[in-house]
């Protein structure tokens, strides 16, 4: 147990007075000087008072916390619910810390309580906290769709609850008396566990605050412990109960002097739950955790020494990051901190997952605080705050997180601003991307950390990305084109518009395609979203829009003949040793963009594609590794289970140097069916190599024959007829060439010959770019369609960087 001694006296408050009133003749001057010092700090007159008032709702009122209750009313009371208030006044700062046996503090409740609260305390110094019991009255939330969890809105329940809470504050204020305070921490010692990941992090700390009066009697014992109060047995699903915090409070209050009020402040309980001590179950488990918690808190409190304190409160009403659920997700919230000497208490308006609390604590300690408590469910409810690393997981917490993975940084940043000690880290400024024109396209140079890469791109193409989001995600959804024809969404009458609900649902569902994404890539998408001014989920839906559309059997992006790729390898490529040609066929007429990426870590690389990540299937890195992809239109678009293939190729470009490193990554992709991926480069010894990987039906790696490697073999029985015709033409034009040079490849790629109006042409009406890679020179030659759709001139671009094999 880690006990923090009160810094001023080192003795209890009562002892302090006995010491002070001792023989006056002893060291009188020294004591007077001490008074002056203490008074200078303004901390000589701590007053405190506490009270509790029952707020159990009426039978029949709906309980909050579980949607499966469907608003059904409470049928019985297992144990009463209370509002417990602690009033603190250091002579300068007056604070109310109020813990309520409720599930959340919703805006309607806070507003009403503030209206009824004692006027002596500034509204911003009133801290309302819910213990998060899932067995307390709902009925106080007016806003949809939260009524589906909290039940019908009952103004009378809101009023009686608010009056009870306010009454506890009035009584606490009226009972104020001279007081001293101390704080410390204990280890919770196996009372809680991570409910989402077996070996996931747990907040081991119990925060304890003891407030005593002049006689050394406890006015209040405050515990801060992180775990969901969801332990009420299923058989009592409609029963009022304060859950384990009720047992904690009961235990403390019964064991303390009369009038002592135990406050329970839940912590970052987002992904924390209680354990089952000694195999207990049902109510026994609930009670065991409550009482064991009380034991640990009591043991800590007994060792605390109390004294005077300086209080400091701070609050901010920051804008939340943009969210898809604009109709119901708040855009602004309320953050609050309370500092008691060197203790920092951070009050979170929702359910923070433990990773955030642990990191916030680290940061607070680094800035000079002795202790830090994170208190959840305070003042407002912005749902879950999830760590970036878990945003991609399809867990309850991640789908209930509206504000994207960047919420984690927002959390540290906003609380950092409220801390008095130390300095908040300076905000980093991302320089804008540099761009230049080449014939037919724009070249964008990106540089820096992953977030900066994304931000530069998002900022540069904000207009385009927003327009794309509108046209490919929002409008199709709004027009009903992305809805399934059956089930819930099919029951909506025409005059109603389900988009405000379906959009965030679709956003949540899209998290599954983040599975396996690396943190740097996640950061890059965050940067892109922020640069474009869109919610993360919006940008991610845009990334997946083609996939969503295609898998609804309403193909938008995948109806074109898809690409031509081939490589000349070894002597067949002459002095270049390796040349790769590719035409990308893409049904959308997106403006072409070449992106040079110089990441802080990994290989610099160059990609040819569009403003947006989608369709980035052509690239080469500084290690001379080339990747290109084509799709077989005959194969149905598979339901993707992981990251978009653009990100797979992107990872290869950034992280791999040889073909042998890239092949396992492609083979491991669960979503390769229907695609051919060409990877070409040089071995460590400088030998050229190229393979085409496909999974039709099993994964196969095909190598060059006679120095020529085609994306699709004309003899492939699974290939569609147009693709076969294209590759027959490629073969016809190249097979007679003993050495295939760059000019020959350009000529082949520019071939517009067609027997059916264009679909079987190598350069066809949907060709968006044509590239010849000369990896040995780190050079690529890119051409884009002219206004009439015919091939434009090839422009040479060289990638800067030092390949290791040379």
């Amino acid at each position: 147990m880690d006990v923090v001694h009160f810094p001023y006296s080192g003795v209890s408050f009562a002892g302090y007075w006995r010491w002070f009133l001792g023989p006056i003749y002893k060291n009188i001057l020294i004591r007077l000087a001490l008074i002056v010092i203490l008074q200078t700090g303004g901390a000589l007159a701590l007053e405190a008072g506490s009270a509790k008032v029952e707020i159990t709702g009426p039978l029949g009122a709906p309980l909050n916390g579980y949607g499966d209750r469907m608003g059904r009313g409470a049928t019985s009371v297992h144990d009463p619910l209370w509002a417990r208030a602690l009033y603190l006044d250091d002579g300068t700062t007056k604070v109310f810390l109020v813990s309520t046996d409720l599930c959340v503090i919703n805006p309607e409740l806070r507003e009403r309580v503030l209206a009824l609260a004692p006027a002596e305390v500034p509204k911003d110094n009133i801290i309302l906290v819910a213990t998060h019991t899932h067995s307390a009255q709902g009925a106080m939330i007016k806003q949809h769709p939260f009524r589906f969890v909290s039940g019908r809105f009952m103004p009378e329940v809101l009023e009686s609850t608010a009056r009870g809470i306010a009454q506890s504050m009035h009584e606490a204020y009226n009972r104020r008396r001279r007081a001293a305070i101390g704080f410390g921490t204990a280890k919770q010692d196996d009372l809680s566990a991570n409910r989402r990941y077996r070996s996931g992090p747990v907040d081991e700390q119990i925060g304890v605050i003891l407030v005593e009066d002049a006689d050394g009697n406890a006015i209040s014992v405050v515990a801060n412990f992180a775990a969901h109060p969801t332990s009420v047995p299923d058989s009592d699903h409609y029963t009022y109960s304060a859950d384990y915090p009720g047992f904690y409070c009961d235990d403390i209050e019964k064991g303390a002097a009369e009038g002592c009020v135990a406050l329970f402040l839940n912590g970052a309980e987002g992904n924390q739950t209680i354990t089952a001590p000694k195999g207990t179950d049902g109510w026994e488990r609930t009670e065991a955790v409550g009482r064991l918690l009380a034991d640990r808190v009591r043991a800590t409190a007994n060792k605390l020494t109390c004294g005077e304190a300086t209080l400091h409160t701070a609050c901010v009403r920051p804008e939340l990051p943009p969210a898809l659920g604009a109709a119901y997700a708040p855009t602004q919230t309320f953050l609050q901190t309370l500092e008691i000497n060197d203790l920092l208490m951070a009050f979170v308006p929702g359910e923070a997952c433990v990773e955030l609390a642990l990191e916030l604590r680290n940061r607070a300690l680094q800035r000079g605080y002795q202790s830090q408590f994170t208190v959840g469910l305070a003042n407002d409810y912005a749902m879950y705050f999830v760590a970036r690393a878990h945003y991609a997981d399809l867990t309850y917490e991640s789908v209930c997180s509206n504000y994207g993975p960047g919420m984690e940084d927002w959390f540290y940043r906003e609380f950092g601003k409220l801390m008095q000690k130390g300095d908040a880290p300076p905000a980093s400024l991302t320089p804008p991307a540099q761009s230049r024109e080449i014939p037919g396209a724009m070249v964008l140079r990106l540089e820096g950390e992953p977030y900066a890469l994304g931000y530069q791109r998002g900022r540069h193409f904000a207009t385009e990305i927003t327009a794309l989001y509108q046209s490919r995600v929002f409008q199709p959804l709004n027009g009903g084109r992305l809805f399934p024809d059956t089930g819930f969404w099919s029951y909506w009458p025409k005059f109603m518009n389900p988009t405000p609900l379906s959009l965030p649902v679709l956003g949540m569902a899209s998290h599954k395609w983040l599975t396996g994404i690396s943190v740097p890539l996640m950061r890059e998408i965050e940067g892109m979203a922020e640069g474009a001014g869109l919610p993360f989920d919006a940008v991610w839906l845009l990334q997946n829009s083609g996939h969503i559309t295609a898998t609804q059997d309403k193909p938008l992006l995948f109806q074109a003949p898809f690409c031509t790729i081939f490589a000349a390898v070894g002597d067949r490529a002459g002095a270049d040793q390796l040349l790769v040609g590719r035409n990308l066929d893409w049904n959308e007429k997106d403006p072409p963009v070449v992106t040079e990426v110089y990441p802080a870590e990994g290989q610099p690389f160059i990609q040819v594609g569009f403003a947006w990540n989608e369709g980035l299937f052509t690239g080469m890195n500084a290690a001379a590794l080339v990747v290109a992809l084509e799709r077989n239109p005959l194969q149905p678009v598979p339901v993707r289970s992981g990251l978009p293939l653009e990100f797979l190729l992107r990872s290869i470009l950034q992280d791999c140097q040889q073909v042998s490193e890239a092949v396992p990554l492609v083979e491991a992709s669960p979503d390769l069916a229907g695609y051919h991926v060409l990877i070409a480069g040089f071995t460590e010894k400088g030998a050229p190599e190229a393979v085409v990987l496909s999974r039709e039906p099993s994964t196969a790696a095909r190598e060059a024959e006679k120095g020529l490697l085609l994306g699709t073999l004309p003899s492939d029985a699974n290939a569609d007829p147009d693709t076969v015709k294209r590759y027959v033409r490629v073969l016809e034009q190249l097979e007679e060439e003993r050495i295939i040079g760059r000019e020959e490849i350009e000529r082949v790629l520019s071939n517009v010959e067609s027997s059916n109006g264009g679909a079987d042409a190598i350069w066809n009406p949907t060709t968006r770019h044509s590239v010849v890679f000369a990896p040995k020179q780190r050079t690529l030659y890119v051409a884009f369609p002219k206004e009439d759709g015919r091939p434009g001139p090839y422009t040479a671009m060289t990638l800067k960087g030092t390949p290791e094999h040379e």
């Binding site: 608003g71 059904r72 049928t75 019908r152 005059f495 389900p498 988009t499």
Partner: protein, 525 residues
């Protein structure tokens, strides 16, 4: 007077003769004027004789005939009726009221002389009313005034075939006068046709008199015939309706016979039905009292057949039936109860619960019980056995309150409640509404007029309830093309309009193949 001596010079006889000549001339002029006067008088009398039959100028094959029997006397009263306040200000109907109240912009004497008897409107086009033929009998002065009016330059003569019509350029109307009969139409063909009717197409005086036959003191009587408009022709034949404006109300009466196809569709509902004494409806936003001499299942089948294939509730929805399928005892009770509900049924939309998880309409019904073999009430089924969870939708019977409830989801507005009440069974979708209604003794009143269906609507309260419910969806962006501001702007004028309306009541009955409907819109004092 001057005393000056007058001296006459010249030829005396000549002077005399001159005097005489002047006097004779004056006499001649006087005679001429007098003659002209009498001639004009004679011409006026002659030309304005009431020699034409109005029945001969109206075709007998019009799709509709509208007659205002006391137009002149009732004109001001109609214009002053508060019922007009129920019509939105933007409606073109207000032009009629304006025209009535400002005498069509004409002098009072002129209006009084143009509209001397009943006014008739008729035509073929019931969709666009493009061929309305207006006919009235003028007074002699009115007829003369027309003759003077026809001299105005804005009135042109126009020939249609062999018929000469007058055309008022400024308004686009054609008119013609035969004796004292004034015929007006926007359609020259319709007007010319009326003036050249062969004898077999003339309506005739008897039929004309029948058009003006009315129930009570109707201000307007309208008769529809089978041709003319698809929507009328497809549903009813020989339809008649009349309307009456009262100082604070507007009444209509309608009667007609369903056409063959509809008669067949309505047969399960209406066959053998006669007007019945109806019990006074339950209080509510929209209240219905009906008696089709059928049990509830039979009535339901009748409605479903009449509605056609698109009837949304052709079978009892699962969420209604399932609770009674939980146990055999409840199933038997539910089936037996349903079979015995009727024939007098009262249904009301009591309120819309705005605080439910979603805005929820609350309905209540009071059904008579057919006496034979009625299900026992209270139901002899185990009362709320231990072990039922709140999610279990098995019906519960509370012996103390003698009420049967079915727990569903959400709060009281979705808690079906049954109780014995009056001469039958009370059913409500909402326990809160049930509580309010069952707290007062059942209404035993019988409505004054026997009928098969009675409906009463409180327009303002109803619209307000649905507006507030819909607004919750609008605020979430779930209603296309509306945000809260535009939605409020769209609904507020209607709310304001309805504020002055006390109620709309309607009763309908069926007998001998004829449907009769009476409706009244009452305004608040």
């Amino acid at each position: 007077m001057s005393e000056a001596v007058r001296t006459y010079t010249g030829n005396r006889s000549a002077g005399y003769s001159k005097y005489r000549r002047r006097r004779n001339k004056r006499k001649g002029l006087f005679r001429a004027v007098t003659a002209l006067f009498f001639a004009t008088l004679l011409w006026s009398w002659w030309s304005t004789r009431d020699v034409h039959s109005l029945g001969a100028l109206l075709p007998n094959d019009q799709a509709y005939y509208l007659c205002a029997p006391d137009f002149l006397q009732r004109r001001a009263a109609i214009a002053e009726s508060a019922a007009w306040n129920a019509v939105p200000e933007s409606s073109s109907l207000h032009t009629i009221r304006q025209a009535l109240s400002n005498r069509f912009g004409q002098a009072e004497w002129l209006v009084n002389n143009v509209f001397q008897g009943p006014v008739y409107l008729s035509g073929q086009d019931l969709d666009k009313f493009s061929d309305v033929l207006f006919a009235t009998r003028m007074s002699r002065i009115g007829a003369l005034a027309e003759k003077a009016f026809s001299l105005f330059p804005s009135v042109k003569n126009k020939k249609v075939g062999e018929v000469r019509l007058r055309y008022i350029e400024s308004s686009g109307y054609y008119y013609a006068v035969r004796g004292r009969i004034l015929l007006v139409s926007r359609s020259d063909a319709a007007l010319a046709g009326a003036l050249t009717l062969p004898a077999e197409r003339m309506l005739g005086e008897d039929a004309l008199a029948a058009l003006a036959t009315r129930e009570g003191d109707a201000d307007l009587v309208c008769t529809f015939h089978s041709s003319g408009s698809e929507w009328v022709a497809n549903v009813v034949e020989n339809a008649q309706f009349s309307a009456q404006w009262l100082p604070r109300a507007f009444r209509i009466h309608f009667q007609g016979s369903p056409r063959q196809e509809w008669r067949e569709r309505l047969a399960p509902l209406l066959e053998g039905v006669t007007p019945q004494p109806l019990p006074a409806p339950l209080d509510g936003l929209i209240s219905v009292s009906c008696n089709f001499e059928k049990t509830l299942p039979q009535l339901w089948t009748g409605i479903a057949t009449a509605w056609g294939d698109s009837f949304p509730l052709a079978s009892v929805p699962d969420f209604v039936a399932t609770p009674f399928r939980k146990t055999e005892a409840w199933s038997a009770f539910g089936d037996n109860l349903a079979r015995h509900l009727g024939p007098a049924i009262r249904l009301t939309l009591g309120a819309v619960d705005q605080n439910a998880m979603l805005p929820t309409p609350e309905f209540a019904a009071q059904c008579q019980l057919i006496a034979d073999d009625t299900p026992a009430w209270p139901p002899e089924i185990e009362a709320d056995p231990a072990g039922y969870t709140p999610e279990d939708m098995t019906p519960r019977f509370d012996k103390e309150s003698q009420r049967l409830t079915i727990p569903t989801v959400d709060g009281p507005s979705l808690q079906p409640t049954f109780a014995a009440y009056g001469d039958g069974v009370f059913v409500s979708t909402s326990s809160a509404l049930a509580e309010a209604i069952l707290a007062v003794p059942p209404k035993e009143d019988i409505l004054p007029q026997p009928a098969n269906l009675f409906v009463r609507i409180q327009p303002h309260a109803t619209l307000d309830a649905f507006y507030n419910g819909a607004l919750q969806f609008v605020q979430l962006g779930l209603v296309r093309n509306y945000d809260p501001a535009t939605f409020e702007a769209a609904v507020t004028p209607w709310l304001r309009q309805c504020e002055q309306v006390h109620s709309i009541v309607a009763s309908a009955s069926y007998e001998d193949g004829t449907i009769r409907l009476d409706a009244e819109l009452s305004m608040l004092p």
